[in-house]
């Protein structure tokens, strides 16, 4: 019904038989809603999930940087050590956070009952298992070489049989899936802001994961004054490039989300998204990294990127909640060509 006819009928209603409350005359309520009650339900996910997205992204990015360095024959022992231990720590924390968030944590092993390639949650669980185990083996070899397992006992001799370089190569695609699947996982839902951005959601999470990973490596190596100068130089250049790609992908995402991106600029999410991510996590660090390499500036930039990456994940999850709770967003999304259709091309 058009706006004018509705207005007419409201006006006609005045002075006529009135038996009850009139939803239509409520100025806060728009047409075609059922009392503003959300037609879909938001996910219950609490803080553990965005924190996992952040930590898992760092693990994936670190694996990528260190494996590329390994493939190129860049033998920086400090980089290798911090990378392997970082991936191990992220892969220990990730399942803890995810199990914590389950409604029935004691049943977490049910995730291993089936393999479902259609369920991003299932592929994510399996990727974590694979990546975690590989990271554990690689880190064990590292620990043996670092003398953490004692000297010349059976355990050390066995551990040194682990083919760490081969396993690193195997862990790369699995790790990349952990990093990007977080984005694909939220876009494979009915939530307008997430579902609309299915093309860029995986890439933007992966890129953001890589930028936080590079920042973590750079921060650690600079704070401990370790690592070869070439490593630091490569990190510096990669950080700048990754931040630029991330900015481009976020811009593309906003363009793709179009009107459904509104929750990102709402009162509660804008400080996180605009302040924390766009300004604090992208613009400011990029400005700091421009020009000559400087230890202090680089450390500050790294901290900002890490905080910005965390803010981005909280912003995305919170925006999804607002988007799911907004009947107008969902109904405009599902009332035509806006919704993803099967015939859509990549």
């Amino acid at each position: 019904m058009s706006e004018t006819t509705r207005q007419d009928s409201v006006q006609q209603g005045n002075g006529k038989v009135q038996t009850s409350h009139h939803p239509e005359t409520d100025p806060n309520r728009k047409d075609k809603h059922y009392y503003g009650i959300p037609p879909i339900k938001h996910a219950h996910w609490t803080w553990q999930v965005p924190v996992y997205f952040w930590i898992g992204g760092i693990g994936a990015g670190v694996q990528m940087f260190s494996t590329v360095a390994q493939i190129l024959g860049h033998g920086d022992k400090d980089l290798q050590r911090v990378s392997r231990y970082t991936v191990l720590v992220t892969m220990v924390l990730s399942p803890i956070l995810l199990i914590w968030d389950l409604g029935r944590p004691e049943r977490f092993l049910n995730m291993m009952r089936v393999i479902k390639l259609r369920s991003p949650m299932s592929t994510q669980s399996w990727s974590l298992v694979a990546f975690g185990n590989l990271a554990g083996l690689i880190a064990a070899r590292q620990a043996a070489e670092d003398g953490l397992l004692g000297t010349d006992n059976v355990l050390v001799r066995l551990t040194k049989l682990i083919p760490d370089r081969l396993l690193s190569l195997l862990a790369l695609p699995v790790g990349l899936n952990v990093g990007s699947n977080t984005g694909n996982l939220i876009s494979a839902t009915s939530v307008p802001i997430w579902a609309r951005n299915w093309v860029f959601m995986g890439p933007v999470f992966l890129t953001s994961g890589l930028s936080t990973a590079l920042s973590w490596l750079s921060l650690y190596l600079r704070l401990t004054r370790s690592g070869r100068p070439e490593t630091l130089h490569a990190l510096h250049r990669a950080e700048k490039a990754t931040i630029l790609i991330e900015a481009g992908l976020i811009a593309a995402s906003l363009f793709r989300m179009s009107r459904w991106a509104k929750p990102l600029f709402s009162k509660t999410v804008a400080p996180l998204f605009v302040g924390g991510t766009l300004i604090g996590g992208i613009a400011a660090p990029f400005a700091l990294l421009r020009g000559e390499e400087d230890r202090r500036k680089s450390i500050l930039a790294s901290v900002l990127v890490l905080i910005g990456g965390l803010a981005f994940r909280f912003a995305m999850i919170r925006a999804g909640r607002i988007s799911a709770d907004d009947p107008e967003a969902y109904f405009t999304f599902t009332s035509g060509e806006n919704a993803p259709q099967p015939e859509d091309k990549v």
Binding site: Y35, P38, P39, I40, A69, G103, M111, P120, T334
Partner: protein, 278 residues
């Protein structure tokens, strides 16, 4: 054989017997005393503890009672102008709809479920196995109809089982059994489809040209869901009943997202490799 519901909203009187019967049979807990202040509907929506929900839709834009209202004519479903200049559209004034899980042909919740807890049972209904569900909550945002929620304190997700236990014993679901106007009909999906088409034809012959079946692949089942085993006869736009016009299968885009991510990973790998160049 696939079983399902046909909910004919045109004969629903909003008695909420289905809600009560469902709560009682399935031993669902109360949702608390909540007063919305919006309408007579205080159970608001479907959830993990409300598997049938009767929507009370007040439709003042169609509510035209002028002159001397003939209550007998109103009850008898008369649509033509009445003596004394009174006009009315009996079906348009109030709309009730008993909402329920749609039991999609290609169910998004089932595809989302990482534990395999959500299955199709022998009656081709979408069923959550409560002994498997670990409460990851991923089915909740996947459902395009907002049917499933995670029940607080319990932790697991629940929704309409289409009274799986009653069906095994050859009984019809509690809501359909309790419905006094036969607004909720239970049976073979193919039979219900025929009944629905006949009823819509009957309504259209009576002059209610806006009547249609929602939940067929043509209406309310595009985007890969392939229609629903819970069909509805509606008299207004789906949004009025808090239903989406064109729901979509969220997982349809997962493959595309993975491909896009693989492309991004390759580009990022190249960028990192270039950063090592002197």
């Amino acid at each position: 054989m696939a079983t399902g519901f046909l909910t004919d909203t045109t004969v629903c009187i909003g008695c909420k017997a289905c809600e009560v019967a469902c709560k009682q049979w399935n031993q669902l807990p109360a949702d608390g005393y909540e007063f919305t202040g919006d309408s007579y509907d205080n159970t608001k929506q479907l959830s993990g503890t409300t598997w049938r929900h009767v929507a009370f839709i007040e439709n003042p834009k169609k509510r035209r009672l002028t002159g001397d209202v003939d209550l007998v004519a109103l009850a008898e479903d008369v649509t033509e102008p009445l003596p004394g200049g009174a006009e009315l559209d009996a079906l348009g004034r109030w709309a009730f709809m008993s909402d329920v899980c749609k039991h999609c042909v290609a169910a998004p919740c089932q595809q989302a479920c990482p534990t395999g807890s959500i299955i199709r049972n022998e009656f081709d209904n979408v069923y959550i196995q409560p002994d498997i569900c670990n409460g990851c909550g991923y089915c909740v945002p996947a459902c395009p109809y907002g049917v499933i929620t995670q029940v607080p304190n319990d932790g697991r997700a629940f929704k309409c089982t289409l009274c799986y236990d009653r069906q095994i014993d050859g009984l019809e679901p509690a809501c359909a059994k309790a419905c006094p106007t036969n607004s909720i009909q239970f049976g073979d999906v193919e039979d219900l489809k025929v009944i629905a088409e006949q009823r819509v034809q009957e309504l259209q012959d009576k002059g209610y040209t806006q009547a249609y079946v929602w939940g067929t692949p043509e209406v309310g089942g595009t985007g890969g869901i392939d229609g629903n085993h819970s069909k509805f006869i509606l008299m207004d736009e789906p949004e009025v009943y808090n239903l989406p016009r064109h729901p979509f299968l969220p997982q349809e885009k997962f493959r595309g997202g993975v491909i896009a991510s693989a492309v991004a990973a390759t580009v990022l790998g190249a960028v990192v490799a270039l950063a090592f160049r002197d």
